[in-house]
């Protein structure tokens, strides 16, 4: 178990190094950073001195080493646009995105799994057909359209929920949370549904097809023959056997949620990292972009690591097969 975790950690470190290399290359090849920093009429000496100060004359591997070292100390340089340390800007935005992604994932899982189980068990019921039709809509409509539709109905027509922003936030340490105020929670509902709807339908359909598969197995028949209650059969024996693929997909989808947050954040003017990223692309703010890249990659790696550990927790057979090349 420990060896398994350590091996996964080493793999994760390699992934992060690779992403760091890409991020570093981004710095080097999108124009000369000196040009981005100094004013147009800076003298040649000034430029040379700055170049020396920034260490841009050192060999590339040394520079990369320094980049990685700094990144590990959360030093991503200074934003070209805002002239503030990138980490400060990111940390300002990070809670907003994470809370949104968390709420969206929670929505997707809390609705998606029960719907999947229900439609898997009651294959022919009217309600199942309804659920599946609704999920078809969720899968086929693009995120921005769902967002705009929701705004139209719940913000414009009914006026129940705000159409943009985060509402009031409370600061706990560096973390600005919208979860503790009424207006913050209200502002979270529409974006979270918009962002989570696709994932919810995906989870519903996945859980459903896995349930159908598992309910056909002999051990479910045997569990029935042992006289276990329906609840024990469905939730104890069947659902747990569907979880390995479901956890995989949820893990990957949490990453996708963070990535798709860019669209949702734009539609709802949610002050998160996605919105920040769009703006930094528009202004070629490379330090912000590269730090965003690293942060998103880091979250993917962390989620994948958690998923791997969850596999082991769910399926005892993986403990023995742990020496394999992975999933």
């Amino acid at each position: 178990m420990l060896a398994f975790a350590i091996r996964r950690l080493i793999e994760a470190a390699f992934v992060m190094l690779t992403v760091a290399l890409l991020s570093f290359v981004l710095f080097r090849f999108v124009g000369d950073p000196i040009n981005q920093i100094v004013s147009q009429d800076a003298s040649l000496e000034e430029r040379i001195r700055l170049r020396e100060d920034l260490g841009l004359n050192d060999p590339i591997p040394v520079q990369f080493g320094r980049f990685v070292w700094k990144a590990m100390n959360l030093d991503f340089g200074v934003s070209y646009q805002v002239k503030q340390p990138v980490i400060t800007i990111l940390m300002d935005r990070f809670p907003a995105t994470l809370e949104l992604a968390f709420a969206a994932a929670l929505f997707a899982i809390a609705i998606g799994i029960p719907m999947g189980v229900y439609t898997g068990i009651h294959r022919h019921s009217m309600l199942s057909k309804w659920f599946l039709s609704i999920s078809l809509i969720g899968i086929s409509l693009p995120t921005f359209l769902i967002g705009i539709l929701l705004i139209y109905v719940f913000a414009v027509k009914l006026g129940w929920l705000p159409s943009y922003g985060r509402g009031e936030t409370v600061k706990i340490g560096f973390w600005k949370t919208g979860l503790l105020t009424w207006s913050g929670l209200k502002a979270l509902i529409l974006p979270a549904i918009t962002l989570g709807l696709f994932q919810m339908t995906l989870i519903t359909r996945l859980v459903r097809s896995e349930m159908l598969e598992v309910l056909r197995t002999d051990y479910i028949k045997f569990a029935r023959a042992r006289g276990l209650s329906n609840r024990a059969v469905y939730f104890g024996h069947a659902l747990k056997n569907t979880l390995v693929p479901v956890v995989t997909i949820i893990g990957l989808q949490v990453g996708a949620i963070i990535a798709f947050a860019i669209i949702t954040e734009t539609v709802f003017q949610w002050p998160g990292m996605g919105l920040l990223f769009i703006k930094s692309v528009q202004t070629a703010d490379i330090p912000v972009m590269s730090a965003y890249l690293l942060l998103v990659a880091f979250m993917f790696v962390v989620i994948n690591f958690i998923v791997d550990l969850l596999y082991v927790a769910i399926d005892p057979r993986i403990r023995l097969a742990g020496s394999g090349a992975g999933h």
Partner: protein, 328 residues
């Protein structure tokens, strides 16, 4: 002597399909007494598994019991609704399936599965159930039971897993075990062990056993009585010795003739020509008539009812022609 543990009367199982209703089990009657092993043999599709599934109330819709009755110690159980039936399954009727590799849930320790089953049916504490589970595992011949309790199914071999399945079937002390091809998926050397185990455990407990198999060898070794099924009906039912040594029904004769013997004086084994009719195309009269070497006019017109021949009951017009010594 009290009444039989299991009593099945005129049981019919039907599957409504688009092309009409298929009758998978047709008018079957048999009894099993306490401690007795009834073997049910037949080719694939003869309706033997379907009979077992109907007895334990696990027919998959649209399959349903269309007629007749099933009684367990005199109590009628074929018409019970879901919850009442669930209380009987595992508690009063245990079941063993064919493939031990897939019968156990791979994600739970075998102990958890045994304890779960016991505690579903019996008022037991976790600790009591655990102690009982260890005893049970040792009884079915698993060494180091107290450690093995916490192993997962994949850590057992096929034969060992079938022992665990047997422990699961027996854990609530049922009155009847329905064993559906319990040895078919196992190595021949393991088969004999499992058969002996089933026989010993049920004899000790006085559990009735319905042993479904297509293997006459297993029947000869284990069963007290045997029911030979053909196309959803019982062709012949009687004491194993009678049926094996003095078969009356032409189908049973053919079946016995097709078993190789060690003496092997004959050059060729007898084989029954043709194959069992599909449920959609069961011929009029006796279902065996197209393959029967002795069929005569009446066999093509009327279905034979079971009559006694010696101690066996046989559903054949030839048997009816011979002097009848009793009525079913």
């Amino acid at each position: 002597m009290t009444g039989p543990v299991l009593s099945v009367r005129n049981l019919r199982v039907e599957f409504p399909t688009r092309h009409g209703t298929l009758r998978a089990v047709d008018d079957i009657s048999f009894d099993i007494a306490a401690g007795e092993v009834l073997g049910v043999v037949g080719e694939s599709g003869a309706g033997k598994s379907m009979t077992g599934t109907a007895v334990i109330g696990l027919l998959e819709p649209p399959g349903r019991i269309a007629g007749g009755e099933v009684r367990l110690k005199g109590q009628r159980i074929d018409n019970l609704a879901g919850e009442a039936l669930r209380r009987i399954r595992g508690r009063r009727i245990g079941m063993v399936f064919q493939d031990p590799l897939t019968s156990l849930n791979p994600l739970y320790r075998v102990g958890e599965q045994i304890i779960e089953t016991m505690r579903t049916h019996l008022p037991m504490s976790e600790a009591q159930a655990r102690r009982r589970a260890i005893e049970l595992l040792s009884e079915v011949g698993i060494q180091g039971a107290s450690d093995r309790l916490d192993s997962y199914p994949h850590q057992f071999s096929g034969g060992m897993r079938q022992r665990v399945v047997l422990a699961l079937a027996l854990c609530a002390e049922p009155e009847l075990i329905v064993a559906d091809e319990p040895t078919t998926a196992l190595d021949v050397s393991i088969q004999a062990q499992i058969i002996q185990l089933i026989k010993r455990l049920c004899r000790e407990r006085g559990t009735a056993v319905m042993l479904i198999t297509h293997d006459m060898g297993v029947i000869a070794e284990t069963a007290d009585r045997v029911a030979v099924m053909y196309a959803g009906r019982i062709a012949e039912i009687g004491q194993v010795a009678d049926v094996v040594q003095r078969p009356s029904h032409p189908y049973t004769k053919g079946l016995m003739g097709s078993i190789p013997t060690l003496e092997g004086s004959e050059t060729r084994l007898v084989q029954i020509p043709g194959s069992m009719p599909r449920l959609t195309a069961i011929p009029q009269g006796c279902a065996f008539n197209p393959r029967c070497p002795q069929a005569f006019a009446r066999c093509f017109l009327e279905q034979p009812a079971a009559v006694f021949v010696g101690r066996s009951e046989v559903a054949c017009w030839l048997a009816s022609a011979t002097p009848v010594q009793g009525t079913p």
